[in-house]
Subunit: 672 residues, 2 copies
């Protein structure tokens, strides 16, 4: 007898899952006992949807339907009463319609059956007369998880040691966690347990000042918290108990980049970057696990780039973009920040470049168009972007940054967004958009020249009421290099006149530092960047970091280093943008780059390293690059690879090792 | 010591309460055990909102905040930790911000305090940078009700008798109810109780065919159902028990029109109309309490008109309109029906005419504009409305009604919507809209001439592909009269050539019959309408109706009269549009009409009645009209009234009786 898989998937209306999950996820941020929901608009899924499938079956089929929400089923146009979710379809052609409506939460359904089992072959409508293929998610909604109750796996972690200061005692779990706390053997007369979480030892001891604290009523001998929190250290007060443990909640990643080299510090920086990124790559790619525990488009954009060089988890990139975007019409900048709308567009276009996921690009292209048209509708008389009322023009945390007027940096993001959308439109055969955005790109690019100060060899910061501020900052100059917004000659000049100039205000956040280091890498200043990685990220490791921080200044000592935003422990010690080295090393040292046709080129550069061996996931496969003093070898499970070594190109055959030995005149691999 | 009211109201973002309540309410329809959510889009409230109030207080104030959803409070920009909802404001100027976010449902808050107690003086934003006055609802959200748990009062009703057929027994509660069922003294070994509801005796006996049935597990000696249902008769099976009662859920109405006359049948028709309307006027004005238990714009439009002559409950009209409209952008016809979008616009403009509620009209004017612009964007090359894919062009339930092409009836609704919106725009000082819609109205009105068949003295039904169908139906011709879309002369001609013609297909639903009878009343054919009311509505009373039906045909006998839509008891026996007499008698016999300036005229006409005394609520007051053989008297609690009697106008002084005695030459009231 043939065995048939009759188990259906949970299915729903496209985007609804991400929108709903995101809105709920974003409400779980706390500061001490105070919940901090986001201060920008959150969207909702549709409330009532209709799933349809038509098919011919050659024998009787039993269909079992369950739903989250109330539901009804029509078979060939007629309601089935008294069915209790069990239906029988005789052989023949049938149309099954399942209507699901949820008073609260996401309406979703699951049908087990042979032909009619629920999957992407069902169509669904939000009752707007349009039918789309139903959506599902094999990563987050399988096993015990349902669309409205997504559960990530947990790992039990016991405290590694206890740290005492006088009478006070805290538990050290040895590394940053994002975990529930379970306390067992609580004394029977205890009333409540108070938890004080610490990313640092100091924070956990400081019960008055720690960012996260919570009080739980005791209702028995054990206690399990319901909202996982970020901590390495934990203080438990209010009751005696037998044991405490952490249930570390994480998103499993089947693949993870590796980097081993002649420099153990660099290896440790790479590993710590990966672990940092793993903690912030969850239901969505968030900024930090303690704070803000939100999805910010600027942070996420860097997260996508890091992800491509660390996990190549496409699903989390898609989830994050959809959750961030919310529901059309697009009538507010993403996260209220002008730059963040552009990063959304750039991330969306980038996603196609890395993944060639044409279906996703097509399905969501209208979102990029909506976002771009919103921006276009807000340009000034020069066709340039200026912050309007309510718009937050952010760029970076930096003192005295006056972002009013026509800010060069924003025009550059605008230009890049136009260019990338035009290029994607071209690929998708959307001629009108390709033309419109291509022309606008040309126009904005030309106007970027207004900001160029030829004498100083730099882009100035802004025009205010038509007057140049003549202020040279790094931001625009970095992006001119990174996104090729000027000639290579000019890029070289900018390196000298801006990036290497101590007269230009230094960047302090790893957020913008990420772009600056990438620009320097791109311009060949790799040796400098390697040193910088060792000193900045190595500095954090010397401070005992097990994940990388929101910001770091080696000059800060004592408690000062954990303070931010005027709060003693305001600084997040596990921040996506702290994981930059995974990208910098993957892209510029390992040198992997998608070729735009579904293949890749790999241009390794060991700089000052004696040797390194790195594995980077790429699409469904992975690429391993080994550089040794005597040469290079590449092994890929993915087809269409090219090794670039010392200016020559070598074809990388999937599954075979491609080696080039420098010392021999006769290469074992011929160049192409 | 002065006593200060410190109790705040529950407040929320405008429209959110109605949108959320409506979506939930609409999901409570069942057919037997099958839930039937609506097949058009349902909207959601915003998830995270921010309430703000700034004020100066001259002494310390205690503020107590509660919310539905998670919330935080900032005072003068700083979060307050560990407050447990209790805050102290020292004397001085303060800004209090309460952020509320709801994972599910409506985010709402309530603050008790002196100056800072929550009310409409707080501003609220859905985080789109715009701040609006917070909304509240004193009718539905007070006492035990909260924004997410609205409870209407209930009245205990015992069955009046038991009816037996063989071994079968049902309970008769004596009148239509919308009620929960409570069963007490259930035998201890019972497993489940099965309820079969009947609007008719037959239905309750027919356990296989009744529209509403439900099975409840027994978990103790008593049982209370959780979803009120429509019934007069009830069958209880599955267990022995001591007693059964109904908890009739209703919206209290402080005022209700009365009508007493020399014709007891008419009085009974009026009372039954009011009771019918009371049952369907609830959280919203729904179509019927058994079925569909939904808000349909066409049904609601008639409900509004009836309401003005029955309860003058403005709040339920506003709630219904807001709930129906949902959330902008307007991208689908209301209820998917083209006519129903127009009825929404007409109802909205009418609301202002009846209530002079300028604040509501201003706040929601953009909705009428959005709806109208949506229609305009869908006009054909002639500037006329045609059904596009997905649009349902309804008009009425009637056999062989082909509503494709340019249907005259729809152009008339379009024209009326344009005219009414232009007029309202004019009142609100919105010149651009007044001009635009005024010009379009003129254009569409001119094109209505294409449909006029001078020879037959009638508007034809439609043009299909540019060709007239030459079909004469009543619909367009009724509306031409009712909304003055042609000259009085032509209107008179239509009465003869269409309304009084037996060659033109008769109207069978009380829905369109409502407009037909109103048109006949308007044209002075009152005697005919009175007879019609007696025979049609009187016919239902003779059938034992305690509420008026969805449709009635005196020729139907036996069970046939309860069947509809191919189902044995498909017909709703308590339907809003069945309550038409309350409007027809109020508007054309009592003759009350708002004068468009906040006052009213009353033009009583007793037709064939010897006498009548009617009280009609108007705005905050009421108007009582008595007509006797010897003359007329009017008493009003509302200012600005004018009595029109035998062609003369008399001022009605509020609080005084205005009488005109026909037999005397010297009137006690002088004409104006």
């Amino acid at each position: 007898m043939r065995k048939i898989d009759t188990a259906g998937k949970w299915i729903w209306y496209p985007d609804d899952f991400e929108i709903e999950l995101s809105a709920r996820f974003m409400m779980r941020r706390y500061e001490r006992d105070v919940p901090i929901p986001p201060f920008w608009k959150q969207y909702s899924c549709w409330r009532n949807v209709k799933f349809v499938k038509k098919a011919v079956i050659d024998r009787e089929e039993r269909l079992s339907v369950t739903a989250e929400g109330i539901f009804n089923v029509t078979i060939d146009g007629a309601f089935v009463y008294g069915a209790g979710g069990e239906y029988v379809l005789p052989a023949g052609e049938h149309e099954v319609v399942v209507t699901v409506a949820a008073e609260k939460g996401l309406p979703a359904m699951k049908a087990d059956g042979e032909t009619f089992r629920s999957d992407g072959s069902w169509l669904v409508t939000c009752n707007d007369h349009k039918y789309l293929p139903a959506a599902f998610n094999d990563t987050l909604v399988s096993g015990d998880s349902t669309p409205n109750h997504v559960k990530l796996p947990t790992e039990v972690c016991m405290p590694l040691k206890e740290i005492c200061r006088g009478d006070e005692k805290i538990y050290d779990f040895g590394r940053q966690l994002f975990a529930f706390v379970e306390i067992e053997g609580i004394e029977s007369d205890a009333k409540c347990v108070r938890l004080y979480y610490g990313e640092s030892e100091q924070e956990a001891f400081d019960t008055e000042g720690c960012e996260l604290s919570a009080v739980f009523e005791v209702n028995g001998p054990s206690l399990l918290t319901d909202n996982p929190q970020a901590f390495r250290y934990l203080s438990v007060k209010g009751a005696a108990f037998r044991s405490v443990k952490a249930l570390h909640e994480y998103l499993p990643q089947p693949r993870q980049a590796t980097f081993r080299s002649s420099d153990p510090l660099l290896d440790e920086i790479f590993r710590t970057s990966c672990y940092t990124l793993q903690l912030t790559t969850r239901e969505f790619i968030i900024d930090g696990i303690k704070r803000d525990r939100w999805v910010w488009s600027g942070d996420a954009y860097q997260g996508y780039l890091m992800d491509y060089y660390c996990f190549f988890d496409c699903d989390v990139v898609r989830r994050t973009m959809i959750g961030l975007f919310g529901r059309e019409p697009f009538d507010l900048h993403i996260n209220h920040i002008m730059d963040y709308t552009f990063y959304w567009i750039m991330g969306f276009c980038d996603y196609y470049r890395y993944t060639k996921d044409r279906a996703f690009a097509e399905r969501n292209f209208s979102k990029a168009v909506s976002a771009l048209e919103y921006c276009i509708s807000r340009t000034d008389e020069n066709g340039l972007m200026q912050g309007k009322e309510g718009d937050w023009v952010f760029i970076d945390w930096a003192e005295n940054l006056d972002n009013t007027g026509e800010v060069c940096f924003e025009q550059m993001l605008y230009a890049v967004s136009l260019r990338m959308t035009a290029q994607l439109a071209d690929v998708l055969g959307k001629e009108e958009e390709a033309k419109r955005y291509g022309a606008l790109y040309a126009d904005v690019t030309q106007k970027l020249e207004w900001f160029w100060d030829e004498k100083r060899g730099a882009y100035i910061h802004s025009f205010k009421n038509g007057k140049p501020d003549n202020l040279v900052l790094r931001y625009a100059n970095i992006f001119a290099i990174l996104y090729d917004l000027c000639t290579p000659e000019r890029q070289k000049r900018i390196v000298k006149s801006v990036l290497e100039s101590s007269d230009v205000q230094a960047i302090t956040t790893p957020y913008m530092r990420f772009y600056e280091l990438a620009a320097l890498m791109k311009m060949g200043e790799k040796q400098y960047v390697m040193e910088e990685i060792r000193s900045y990220w190595g500095g954090m490791l010397r401070e005992g970091a097990t994940t990388f921080w929101e910001t770091y200044d080696s000059r800060q000592t004592g408690d000062e280093k954990y303070a931010m935003y005027g709060r003693r422990y305001g600084k997040s010690l596990c921040h996506t943008w702290g994981a930059g080295p995974v990208y910098l090393l993957g892209k510029y040292i390992t040198g992997l780059e998608p070729d735009g046709k579904g293949g890749f080129t790999v241009t390794p550069d060991k700089t000052d390293l004696e040797w390194f061996t790195a594995t980077v996931p790429f699409l469904e496969g992975e690429v391993t690059v080994s550089v040794r003093p005597e040469g290079v070898s590449v092994r890929s499970t993915h087809v269409g690879g090219v090794l670039v070594w010392k200016g020559k190109r070598y074809r990388v055959i999937a599954g075979k090792e491609t080696s080039v030995t420098d010392t021999k005149e006769d290469k074992i691999c011929s160049s192409i």
